[in-house]
Subunit: 488 residues, 2 copies
């Protein structure tokens, strides 16, 4: 068991006062250097010593420059948080590169408590651990320095503290009902924690376990661990995760299975459209009223008809309930965080529809083909995306992914047509033509993308865009069916 190996050293006041000043100067200087580094630092502070976690959080605030450090403690979620997937509350406060954020009672402690109270089954607990690890791996693979501190409190020490509180000892004012609960569940808790540690050892950043019985010992340990980690991250050339994740299945040539010859006349379209839009209007009102949210991602060739299809959807929805987000080059704020941040932090409140015109799949399409993302970056994106989408779906949102397909000749025809349109929205840029030169590379990337992310609950809908009418009707129908299925 891990608790047997934890040092129970104590530190005298004299020793503490001798060692602390130099440590603080080091930390402050490292934090200064970090400000111009290209990675963020996340410090996770958890453990059975709950008052100790808060003390360490405060300690960091007094040691470091608080202008570039943000402390987060997580209590019960707000209504805005409850309406989004579990990890939304963590994604929304992710630090920018060069900054430090500390977390108490975050994703790790939370899932220990849930399991300790038997609010989650063994299976659910393991699924949660997997999401935790995926979250941490997603950030660390992107360069984030993650430091996980576990403040261990031996059972006898906790017993002693609770006893003192019972006797009305003034020093024990910090003992809360939470601490008594930890004592009550101590033994079963150790097992749960042990499992978490073991899983972490295999798949993510391992914990630093610190004996929290002696405050001074704990503080110096925390300081040293931070100093060493920061100094190592800042001085050594950081090793990018160059090992591309193994991808098991060979990609299927999905795109060639799309029947591009589908036809629909204008009259049939018009009739079907009116019927489906009326249906969608009623369904989306019911979805809003019942708090059901939908997230859609539109991908496909330029000029395949994404914008037109989206407009046929939104014109049958209440404007206050939908949002269309066009994805192009990231802003400064977006560039200073993980690429998924711009999608996570936009997730809608309950009862709303969010439509991405191009999406997180840009990572494995345009960024891959144009070389904006390194090979290891786009390779690991598949599992990051799968985890993101799994969370959307698990939280109860509907997720719909569309690939709009046309062939290269049809695209050229449409580009030429656009050049003469009276709608400036269709202004054609030089880049559009240039992208055509990489058609085959995009085909390969799209096939690979679909192969790795076509999942139950998050399937791809491959739509022929040759005939715009049939494409729009198909998409309207898919959206209606998805809503109907969930509302009935």
């Amino acid at each position: 068991m891990f608790e047997d190996d934890v040092s129970d050293a104590t530190v005298s006041k004299a020793e503490y006062e001798e060692q602390l000043p130099a440590l603080r100067v080091d930390l402050l200087n490292l934090q200064f250097d970090l400000r111009s580094a290209d990675f963020p630092v996340l410090i996770v502070i958890d453990g059975a010593d709950r008052p100790g976690c808060d003390e360490v959080l405060n300690l960091l605030g007094s040691w470091l420059d608080t202008r570039y450090l943000k402390a987060h403690g997580f209590g019960p979620p707000s209504d805005e948080e409850r309406e989004r997937p579990l990890f939304w509350r963590y994604w929304r406060v992710l630090p920018r590169r060069g900054r430090i954020a500390s977390f108490v009672s975050g994703w790790n402690w939370n899932c220990i408590v849930e399991r300790g109270r038997k609010n989650s089954s063994k299976k659910e607990f393991r699924a949660r651990l997997k999401h935790n690890h995926m979250f941490e791996r997603t950030l660390t693979a992107d360069g984030a320095l993650l430091i996980k501190l576990w403040l261990h409190l031996p059972k006898e020490e906790l017993e002693e503290r609770v006893r003192k509180a019972d006797q009305g000892d003034a020093d024990a004012w910090q003992i809360l009902p939470e601490d008594r609960e930890i004592l009550d569940r101590y033994k079963s808790g150790l097992k749960i924690i042990g499992e978490m540690f073991e899983a972490a050892q295999q798949s993510t950043v391992p914990w630093h376990v610190i004996n929290s019985s002696c405050d001074r010992h704990r503080n110096l340990e925390v300081g040293r661990i931070l100093r060493d980690a920061l100094s190592q991250a800042l001085t050594e050339k950081r090793q990018p995760n160059t090992i591309a994740p193994a991808i098991s299945n060979a990609p299927t040539d999905y795109l060639s299975t799309i029947d591009l010859s589908k036809e629909l006349t204008r009259d049939d379209y018009s009739q079907a459209k009116d019927k489906l839009q009326y249906k969608l209007l009623r369904l989306s009102r019911r979805a809003s009223a019942s708090g059901l949210s939908t997230v859609m991602a539109f991908e496909g060739w330029d000029a395949a008809g994404k914008g037109g299809a989206i407009r046929r959807l939104t014109s049958a929805m209440q404007a206050r309930h939908y949002r269309v987000v066009p994805i192009s080059a990231p802003t400064e704020d977006e560039k200073s965080r993980h690429y998924l941040w711009r999608f996570w932090h936009r997730l809608p409140r309950a009862g709303n529809v969010l439509i991405f015109d191009r999406s997180w799949y840009g990572r494995v399409l345009v960024e891959r083909v144009e070389g904006f993302a390194q090979e290891d970056e786009w390779r690991r994106a598949y599992e990051e995306i799968n985890d993101f989408e799994e969370q959307l779906v698990t939280s109860g949102m509907i997720l719909l992914k569309f690939w709009l397909h046309i062939d290269a000749d049809e695209q050229l025809r449409r580009f030429r047509e656009r050049e003469t349109t009276s709608y400036k929205r269709y202004k054609i840029v030089h880049e559009d033509y240039r992208n055509r030169e990489k058609w085959d590379a995009y085909v390969a990337a799209a096939n690979e993308m679909i192969s790795h992310t076509h999942k139950e609950g998050a399937p791809w809908h491959l739509i022929s865009g040759t005939n715009k009418y049939s494409a729009r009707i198909e998409i309207l129908r898919i959206v209606c069916e998805a809503l109907e299925k969930r509302l009935d």
Copy 2:
């Protein structure tokens, strides 16, 4: 009365279909041009025709490119919104320059409803109108194009619609309890609305009143008003608001009243600090528990000791409850909105402390002196800031503003000292020395700032920074007193 002047024209289906297509092409092209313009567009849609407001909101979504248009409808506030000042929910969704946002049931309608239900007194209603106008003026003075559409529904028309709904007419499904309430309060409502219109005429953008009895007439009117307003804003060279607001009182020389000779020995400091920090610790815990928030702004000369004073405060607070935000050059996201946006959208949830190391006062200090803001911009900032602060205070937050003062010799001494410190945080940059050359201009700006923004409920605390010990103690004491006063 305004309703007598509203045209009751109707438009035939043929006429509608003849006129609409060209209007839509115009709108779409104007929206395209807007994307590279340097101002945002806010469309406010309100009026007695509630279903009509939603229809127009949807209509805009079908006419325009929804990727660059966001529709907002405001229902009951979320808990995160309730914990901030009234206008936070509007500030948080302000569009970037080049984008369009539409608002239904926003600040104007809301205050009509409050007054109609007699939830606000005549006096409160007028105070609200003042805030509304200040909000609108703040945005329009900054370049925003604000278009206010009032969908008027004559009483007989509303009666007819409600009657139809009572008879179970399928076309009247949109009639909600809200509409019946409007009918019940129609007469008193007209008076309230009239007062709002009159006030708007004098102090902000006037309303376009549109008769909503005939849908087609209404739609064309909306389209034309938007087209004309957009086209005018985009083609004419926009007139910056060059008329500097009259500033009534001549500035007082506040800075020279600060007694820079205050002394405090290290021992006295140490004793007083321990006592005050312990007090602050307990007070801030109580504040967190009771949901009382505090916002602090620190201004003053470089090297006056702002950072040190802030650290003496935060080390006596729970890290998870405070946040220190250093204000330097704005990010891209911040630059694309009104300068107050970066402060508004950061306002803390209930029970938290937000400390700005330099603040919104930069507008009338560094931006004024260095010429980053035009004269009319910094001149009107005084009343914008006063309105912002009044809202903070009215919402129940504690607002504390500190000016830390030292003289030019002391600053030079500290700059030289910093150059030899082991803390990199104090790295001195060339700019620091350069700013010293404008000392007198900064003195004048600071005196004028204090003169115009030293208000009851938002007073300035002028602190001598010559002796760092006395400055820190004074600030600790002021914070404790402010918390004590509110918690008792």
